[in-house]
Symmetry: C6
Subunit: 78 residues, 6 copies
């Protein structure tokens, strides 16, 4: 009777779902470092209004999307 895994697989049906998984992976590390959701919400207001913070967030998504895309063989069999 295991809890459900938040990351059972890197496989997704489509590139778009793969991108959403990359976003999830990026946020997970943040949540593990700062588990307090209230603090995270407050911080989100700051960085969502700072151009460089948004670019940095996009960079982490890009790195994770590289992983997810490779895991799905770039969805070339779709």
């Amino acid at each position: 009777m295991n809890r459900e895994s938040w990351l059972p697989t890197l496989k997704t049906d489509t590139p778009e779902e793969g991108y959403e998984l990359a976003v999830k992976l990026a946020r997970k590390a943040v949540g593990m470092t700062q588990p307090d959701e209230d603090v995270r919400k407050k911080l989100r207001v700051d960085y969502a209004n700072n151009a460089d913070s948004l670019t940095m967030a996009s960079q982490v998504v890009a790195l994770n999307f590289q992983t997810v895309a490779a895991a799905n063989n770039y969805w070339t069999n779709n």
Copy 2:
């Protein structure tokens, strides 16, 4: 009757279109973090006039272009 996906595939006909897709991928994560287009427009004025911000933006495009280029096998069959 699905909405159209913003990312149906990573395949593009040419390297140039692949680069444009990389730019789109970079901007998508920004839009997901800051959905308010007016805020994004205001931020764009700032970072488009800051050299380091532009370099950081180019870095995210470079990472996404790595993914898109690999997905297209570097367009070597063109």
Copy 3:
């Protein structure tokens, strides 16, 4: 009679455990540079309350997760 290795293998049973290993890899380098746990705890308070610091931490996890995922062939045989 060797001490136990903190990194006996890059193999994990699941993607989720692979992600946890990526976090461990990210923290290890920090611990090697700043071995004093009290200092690290103090620093953690700072960066856990700074959005950009959290994003940077997530980036390091993303890079290490790329390595762990590749080592596990993206868990495609699961």
Copy 4:
């Protein structure tokens, strides 16, 4: 009667030309974000005199060179 593509291929004859293409790729994203050449020229004065800005620029070239080098199979058949 198409305009000529600025990126018809990732193939180059030599590693040196590949490196020049990587520089071009790095600058392209900057130009797409800040299309005003006069602004870019002004910004260039700033960042060309800042060590960290130059390092960041070199980082983007490095990422793009990874892509170009892979696309050319590292020029191993030269």
Copy 5:
């Protein structure tokens, strides 16, 4: 009668030794840019007490560990 190379091979027996090699690679570039050990020691005090500096150091180790891990085929034959 050559001096001994500081980097005779990227092969290591274990992942843990591979990680140590990644740390060595990260430090080598620093030593090549700032050869004065006294200066480096002084700088180390600063960055070992700054959370973001530690994260950045961990990032460079992560990049080098990607290289070392790939060179060892992720130690999959261990």
Copy 6:
């Protein structure tokens, strides 16, 4: 009667020479952005005495070393 290329090949005999090539690649982009050697020398004094600048420089070397190492198949036939 061509000038000699500064980058005739990515192949090196040893990992150590590969690392030196990675350093060269990192510096080349800096030199292309700031061609004035006197300015670069002045900037070098600054960043060689700043821990984060040194870490950033090491990061660019790490990225280029990934490329050079892959081009040499990680020197596995040595």
